[in-house]
Amino acid sequence: MSTRLAQGGRLIDRQKPLRFTFNGLPMEGYEGDTMAAALLANDRMLVGRSFKYHRPRGIVASGAEEPNALVGLGEGARFEPNQRVTTTELFDGASAISQNHWPSLDFDIGAINARLARFLPAGFYYKMFIHPRPFWKHVYEPFIRQSAGLGRAPKDRDPDRYEQAYGFCDVAVVGGGVAGLAAALAAGRAGKRVWLMEQAAHWGGRAVVDGVTVDGAAAEDWVAAALAELGGMANVRVKARTMAAGLYDHGYLLAYERIADHTPGDGRPRHRLWRIRAGQVIAATGAIERPLAFAGNDVPGVMLASAVRDYAVNWAVSPGDRTVIVTNNDDAYRTALALADAGLVVPAVVDARACVTGALPQAVRDRGIRVLEGRGIAKVKGGKRVTGVAICAQAGEGSVLEEIGCDAVAMSGGWSPVVHLWSHCGGKLAWDEAGAMFRPDPARPPTGADGAAMVVAAGAANGHLQAADCLADAHAAGGGTGAAPTAVTEAEAPLEPVWIMPQGAGPALRAKMWLDYQNDVKVSDVQLAAREGYESVEHTKRYTTLGMATDQGKLSNINGLAVLSEALHQPIPATGTTTFRPPYTPISLAAIAGEAKGELFQPLRRTPMHDWHEAHGAYWEPVGHWRRPYCYQRSGEGIEDAVRREVRNTRNGLGLLDASTLGKIVVKGPDAGRFLDMLYTNMMSTLPVGKCRYGLMCNEQGFLSDDGVVARLSDDTWLCHTTSGGADRIHGWMEDWLQCEWWDWKVYTANLTEQFAQVAVVGPKARAVLEKLGGDIDLSAAALPFMHWAEGTLGGISARVFRISFSGELSYEIAVPAGQGRAFWEQLIAAGEDFGVMPYGTEALHIMRAEKGFIMIGDETDGTVIPQDLGLDWAISKKKADFLGKRGMERTHMTDPNRWKLVGLETPDGSVIPDGAYVPATGVNANGQKNTQGRVTSTYHSPTLDRGIAMALVLNGPDRMGEVLDIPGIDGKVYRAKIVSPVFYDPEGEKQNV
């Protein structure tokens, strides 16, 4: 059984017991425990089920590399699936449930898959479930899908808060082992701005567990002193519980700080995502121990040797009473010593090496522990817990020489440097034959914007597994001058690569040797992939799912590609690795989203009159980041009724529209006129001061992209109105041309959209209400005719009055300083009372412009429409040598006389044609699609005419006036419509020119 030792545990505080539950069972641990340590202390080794075969799974590691021990943590809205217990700090009241089983962890029906394992090898689903065809959707996939996934999906809205922040430093040191500390000390002492981060809550990495002596002191003390010194440096920032998740181009480092995972609901943000600009990254990320591939290496109780040591030393937890150690290297002997120190039984150390000498094995032998040379494990006995191991010759085929009873196995296949940060941005690896590991190739580092290396690997991450080398390497990486910290450890004999155990194992044993514990990928699966031609390491990964589990192959990848290399009879470097992708361990989507959710999801732009609208029944419509009133609903009034009322009231009396969202870009300078002549299809440089002109803008292809009224404010200043949705885009467009192409033109632009509130005062009473406000502007038709502007004061507020109309009515658009927008609006509402004033929304705006046959960008245009299609030839200058889009619209398809062109449509019965309807033509095209000859671009019920009106683009439409078309709707009806002029209302323009 696994249990808590009576003494020891450098990280736990026995004075502070914590209560928690696992699958509802109450358990106890101590402050400083990880949940994994606490579970083991409560003799809970079996904690989950594997993905494919539902095999029993126990804790195998002690850190981020853990593939098995994932639980659902928390309850209700704070429930989170797939929490790795080896990195979950225990807290009082924690509740965890195991995953991927039914009905229970101990008795799981899904384990039938394990019985069928030989019928379910790698990639079996590609070869099966092909017939009969409908079965995949209706039978096979639903069945497979039900058994997929690990933890259950959260249901509720997350109550926690997440932060994002930026950091800047010269050197970011990743990893809080002695290497990271040495590098940070070196860089910090040199005066660099340093960030030091450690993913766990505790410092010191392996050295403190392994009893290394640093600079003559115990590693424990050296680490404490180093942290104290770093803590005292103003230029150094030290962060625990912070994992460097990924490295991006130009040294952009992503770090994930788990602030309150262990103190849920305490009011602090749960996670914080740091985006760090680092001059240099020092990856002191350590190394991860590799499992050995022997039959039954997935039975709960088989653990990494280093993890067994960690549990004993850090948390005073013994994973088993009798632990057999199996290894191909000297380091695992430290586990034997640690267990012996704790008074636990180590029946044997099984060493695959034929000849084992060296100080560490000798020390183990001196304790009276058997060391079996040239031996391997033929098979692990036990189902939900190890009961023993069968020993064989490593060089043989697995004949059992003896059986040893035990309840835990500590395995070590050597170490793999953690090279993720090195690799994220293209750093390359070199195979180290002696160490049987990939290590960063210093000749091929990831490079930054300046072409220089932006990552330095240090210590074990750089392949230096011995403490002394590790410290020297890290000291140098940190730019240290003078002597590096020194370390004393036992000398280690070289390891001997062992990729399967025993060497000559047959198919039956290979089918029981797990490589990827979570995804149930075995040696036999990788060999099958190789046999079937999935030879690229990427093919093998994808075919077998090796390394695709939540640990992303931290334990399995190197073993897997070594097995693949052997199967392909090629050296390991020829096989290579799969791509290392961020994040190093999974990070919460919430942290990635940060504070941007709900009301803060995107900036909400409000016009100065926003609150007034809100208080007066606005039914909002999102328009870009703005909110605009679609209409103003009165109590008991439907939306359509409100829209009709607003249209009629504006046509017959007085309407007010908040037009503040309209883009307002000032263009100024000696070359401004020339610039605008290039931007607009028509001529703007000739516009007299005081006048307005409607203009069109096209992209280089000649397609219409925006429109609006331009006013010339002074000799060198123009004000360009754009569509509401187009303001930012058009401003960017202007700057793009000015900065990239016409950089020597003397033009400034400024987007003043938010500096002005703008109100459209519309209707027969428009002049009257403005005159009632009083001011110094002569608003008479003679003084301020259509398409002119004037400025002065209105109702005591500075105003610029544009006499323009998008409705066909007498209309003034009045811009006032944004800060006075609300006051101005309220003055108009008050003054308009006698005239029956009503505000109107975007839908009334749309209807009135359609009644008048005015186009709307985004309705009549869609990025494929040229001005000529809309009958706007008049707005295309023939005098100008060039403008944006001119060349584009001269191409053959654009000048084709047979294009879809703008017309109006009138239904004889007054019905409204559905939005988006197409006009079919006879026959089908070469691909069997019905031919078309046009489409409806805008369609409304016109309150003014009390019938349906529509605008449409129809093949040669203007030449076909009076023709009747049949237009099918997706509602199943066919609408008859007559082609008419698109101007349904006041075609002579008498209303707007009064």
Binding site: D249, A508, S536, T550, K597, D862, G916, Y918, G969
Partner: protein, 414 residues
């Protein structure tokens, strides 16, 4: 080629799966072929497959710089749909979707086409009108789609928040026979079928030059030597302009990174594919249980197969806002691929200025769904010199201004 079936698996199980054939043969280049396809991604392999199956041309080599299926075929979010607005797009994507329906049977390889339905959310009035337009167009194009209301959206996707404070869901364009497939399997299945027809699939073989005589192609130079051919198909998304450069012409293509990510696997909670274009993200759940997430492309050109972090943030924000339960899930892995972008965001399947050279590229962010249809059209074009499906996708359309612009339908083209 041994047929795959449950019986074959059972038979092999009894002998420890020692008897399986290679899925595709290992091949060294022959001196010449009737046709060479450069690029063993989905589109290249499908082009070769239909050259053999539909046109009897089997003396074909598919040449691949790296490992087959290693480009965007193996990096996408596996969405298959055909609810496109413009006729040429709807034609080729619907052809493709219908080929996907029976592809597992045609290839004798389970590519797991799962017609679980794809919905594109409308979250502004403008989007509502855009999708109504697409629905009308689809009705005439023979593509089965419908515009559904928010209640039906919620019914199909219980985890969605249709009442988000910023962009409430106003409806959706729903294509019930759209869905997903297992992307790697598509490449592997085609490769196996090509190999079975006697075609050579040559991996780790980079094309370094294109040989021409008198304006006509005669072969390619590769890292495994020169290989002759009469017809050459260039199907190398991400590097199309480089191959065109070797053939002496230019393509209107820009190369940008598109990223995707997956969460850790969870038990099934969403069976359909949802695309939210206003907030810009899309989401589905794989059969393994991972939430598969995609978003927009990077704004700058590059070849790194990585991308900018801020795009991941934008995409995840969009989806956490739309699906609040995602918040406590974790990102397992993110990755990127390089996509070809044309001026109108529609593909190119075309003859080129070099006689005998054909190009299939420019699939932008949405190529996976097109693989069978694209291969079908490319094969026809290479075999016959013309294909109705490819007709409008000529590279010369940009010269004429005859764009096939899908972005106009309020949609983004994934």
């Amino acid at each position: 080629m041994k047929r795959y079936s449950v019986f074959a698996v059972a038979r092999e199980a009894l002998r420890n799966h020692q008897g399986w054939d290679r899925a595709w043969a290992k091949a060294d280049p022959k001196p010449r072929y009737d046709a060479i396809v450069v690029g063993a991604g989905g589109h290249g392999l499908a082009s070769a497959y239909y050259l053999g199956r539909n046109h009897g041309i089997t003396n074909v080599a598919v040449i691949e710089k790296g490992w087959l299926g290693g480009g965007n075929t193996g990096r996408n979010t596996t969405i298959i749909r055909s609810n496109y607005l413009q006729d040429p797009s709807a034609a080729i994507y619907e052809k493709s979707r219908s080929l996907y329906e029976t592809l597992s049977q045609d290839l004798n390889y389970n590519i797991m086409f799962s017609p679980r339905g794809v919905m594109m959310l409308a979250q502004t009035q403008h989007e509502v009108r855009g999708y109504l337009r697409t629905a009308h167009a689809n009705a005439l194009q023979g593509v089965a789609t419908e515009f559904i209301g928010p209640e039906r959206v919620k019914e199909l996707v219980p985890i969605i928040d249709t009442n988000g404070p910023r962009y409430p869901v106003l409806g959706a364009l729903w294509q019930p026979r759209a869905g997903t497939a297992r992307h790697d399997a598509v490449a592997w299945g085609y490769a196996r079928a090509c190999s079975a027809m006697g075609m050579d699939i040559i991996q780790n073989c980079e094309v370094t030059g294109i040989r021409r005589e008198g304006g006509k192609v005669t072969g390619v130079e590769t890292t495994k030597g020169a290989i002759g051919c009469d017809r050459l198909g260039i199907v190398v998304a991400g590097h199309s302009s480089q191959l065109a450069d070797m053939a002496g012409f230019r393509l209107p293509i820009e190369s940008v990174a598109l990223q995707a990510l997956v969460s850790e696997p969870i038990k099934p909670c969403m069976d359909v594919v949802v695309m939210a274009n206003t907030v810009h993200g899309y989401l589905s759940q794989s059969d393994k249980g991972e939430m598969v997430i995609g978003g927009g492309t990077d704004g700058f050109n590059n070849y790194t197969q990585r991308g900018s972090w801020h795009h991941i943030e934008e995409t995840v924000r969009a989806l956490v806002e739309t699906f609040p339960m995602l918040s406590r899930l974790k990102m397992l892995r993110q990755w990127g691929g390089i996509v070809d972008m044309t001026g109108d965001r529609s593909p190119i399947i075309s003859k080129t200025p070099v006689e005998g050279v054909f190009v299939n590229c420019g699939w932008g962010t949405g190529g996976f769904k097109a693989i069978p249809g694209s291969g079908w059209a490319m094969a026809e074009l290479m075999a016959k010199g013309a294909s109705p499906l490819a007709e409008e996708f000529s590279m010369f359309r940009f010269r004429e201004g005859k764009f096939i612009d899908e972005s106009v339908a309020a949609g983004v083209a994934h």
